[in-house]
């Protein structure tokens, strides 16, 4: 086995030093009755070339074209510079930076990541990342409940928020909390009147998408007003972080917590995971912030360095009183996003967001001309819902394309809704082909 350096001679020497004659004797602490009495039913070892062929075969079964699909995972260009840097052994084979003196690289990148999250969201405080957007949303709801110090047991969620985010919220809040859903209007935005009726003094937080699952950009300011009137926090959930390159940061519009998914920056689709959850909030909530946090400090000589800090909030010290059971972040995904954002830079981020917006708008306008009218009237970024024939996915596939998500299984009330996403990977030729397939 090429990953096992031991020669038979070395094994013999080591056993001798330990004082046993056979390697099996090392398992003496395991009683006979606890041992497995047969070999595992696992295939024989594969050599590298055969292994690669098997994997290539499995990989070849997925389509090569970029799908017209978002819904929480977005096809974007990942520059080779990002991936080559991620393949630096020092980054991807490092452990969590608990020993800061030998982890400054990871820590400084984390610090840069936190800074990017605050700039994108317009809030003052961000953690070192979370599993994905949905778990970040659930953690935001739990944090809002903690901040209410037992006053609140209820969370109000917009039905236009990503269905999986709502689903995960239900799972996390199943014990002791009430999750109330409010509907959306013909513009695809959260129904403000319904929201006003649902939010009360027991409400810890209101969760909405920005943009929401239909790609529609919510009026955060109005939503914040409704939440704040009753002392609830507004949590904005952004599944497509690239939208924040064009849209105002949620913090500037009244959101108290901004969470979401940042896979769009530097991370591939990877069949939906690992994602990259981000979590930002106001300075005043520092002590209730979940997850790892990196901070700047000085060393013995007074020189700059970075450490994981405020760890007393976390499970390894607080145990049952921790702010969350989470003990990891998605460090390498955060590094990918940080590197990609650094490459894009100030102008590049905005320009990339504009390309997405313009191509999506072009697609919307052509589709509308071809009979696939938008289902909602609210403004959108790079994702939108159209009325489409039932066989739309099949037509798209037959045209050698991929994507389009039928909404019926999530929203029975929208039987002909088709969610489409257009990014910089979809040029005019591809968009025209999509329009033709659906015409």
């Amino acid at each position: 086995m090429r990953y096992h350096p031991h020669t038979p001679e070395e094994i013999r020497e080591m056993l001798e030093k330990i004082g046993v004659s056979r390697i099996e004797a090392l398992f003496a602490p395991i009683p006979e009755r606890c041992r497995l009495d047969r070999p595992l039913a696992v295939p024989e070892a594969l050599d590298e070339r055969s292994l690669m062929e098997h994997l290539e075969e499995l990989a070849a079964k997925q389509p090569k074209v970029p799908p017209f699909l978002g819904g929480g995972a977005y096809p974007h260009h990942v520059p080779p510079a990002v991936d080559q840097l991620l393949l630096r052994s020092e980054l991807y084979t490092a452990y969590t930076p608990y020993q800061p003196e030998v982890s400054q690289g990871t820590l400084q990148i984390t610090f840069e990541f936190q800074t990017y999250v605050t700039l994108l969201t317009g809030l003052e405080l961000a953690n070192a990342s979370m599993y994905d957007g949905a778990t970040a949303a659930a953690e935001a709801a739990l944090m809002a409940v903690r901040l209410s110090r037992g006053r609140c047991t209820k969370v109000v969620v917009s039905r236009a928020l990503h269905p999986e985010y709502r689903d995960v919220l239900q799972t996390y809040l199943a014990v002791g909390f009430e999750v109330v859903e409010v509907g959306f209007g013909p513009d695809g935005r959260t129904d403000l009147e319904a929201l006003r009726g649902a939010v009360d003094e027991k409400t810890a937080a209101v969760l909405v998408g920005y943009p929401n699952f239909f790609g529609v950009i919510e009026d955060l300011r109005a939503l914040a007003q409704v939440a704040h009137d009753k002392g609830a926090l507004l949590v904005s959930c952004t599944t497509e972080a690239l939208a924040l390159g064009l849209l105002q940061g949620p913090g500037a519009l009244g959101a108290d917590i901004a969470v979401g998914e940042m896979q769009s920056f530097g991370n591939g689709l990877n069949f939906g995971g690992p994602g990259l959850g981000f979590f930002a909030t106001r300075e005043a909530y520092l002590r209730q912030l979940p997850g790892r946090i990196c901070g700047a400090t000085v060393d013995r000589s007074g020189r700059r360095g970075f450490v994981l800090t405020l760890s007393t909030r976390e499970q390894h010290i607080r145990r049952e009183r921790a702010t969350s059971n989470i003990c990891t972040n998605h460090g390498l995904n955060a590094a990918a996003a940080t590197i990609h954002l650094s490459l894009l830079g100030r102008e590049g981020l905005h320009a990339l967001a504009l390309v997405n917006y313009r191509r999506a708008r072009y697609a919307r306008e052509r589709l509308a001309e071809a009979g696939c009218k938008p289902l909602f009237s609210g403004p959108v970024f790079n994702e939108f819902v159209v009325r489409a024939p039932k066989d739309a996915p099949e037509r798209i596939r037959k045209a050698g394309l991929a994507g389009g998500l039928q909404l019926e299984c999530y929203y029975p009330e929208l039987p002909d809704g088709l969610l489409l996403c257009v990014t910089e990977l979809h040029d005019r030729k591809r968009i025209d082909a999509l329009v033709q397939a659906l015409a």
């Binding site: 002590r287 760890s311 007393t312 010290i317 607080r318 009183r321």
Partner: protein, 130 residues
């Protein structure tokens, strides 16, 4: 150890001290407590006007490596709290019996003090702990 366990105070087994000043009680944590905690980085104290109960938690003190609840040596109403510790928690390490007092209460039952340890008993208790 003598200077680290002042004679004129009463102590709890959770390492809080209490000093009687007129009709009021001043409360803090002991030299031994801050030494065990290490660098104190954060102190959370109750609002003025809050009620505290003897033996019950009234606040939290955090160091870089541990977090610990503060237990009230006696019951009563909080009449003052040391807000300086919020900005300068290191004072708990520097002067636990002086500038780093934590809260001042109006006691509801002074007899509770009788159940606390005196300096000699507390010193013995700490030595046993070590």
């Amino acid at each position: 150890m003598a200077q680290t366990v002042p004679q004129d105070l009463k102590y709890t087994k959770d390492h809080e001290w209490v000093r009687r000043e007129g009709d009021e009680l001043v409360i803090g944590i002991t030299f031994f407590a801050q030494e065990q905690l290490g660098d104190v980085v954060y102190v959370e104290l109750p609002e003025v006007g809050a009620e505290v109960q003897a033996g019950q938690p009234f606040g939290v003190v955090e160091s870089t490596k541990a977090v610990s609840e503060l237990f009230a040596p006696a019951s009563g109403k909080v009449v003052a709290r040391n807000d300086e510790l919020v900005d300068a928690p290191e004072k708990v390490n520097q002067d636990p019996y002086g500038v780093a007092w934590m809260i001042r209460i109006a006691p509801s039952n002074l007899a509770e003090l009788d159940a606390l340890l005196d300096a000699a008993a507390y010193q013995k208790y700490v030595e046993e702990q070590q």
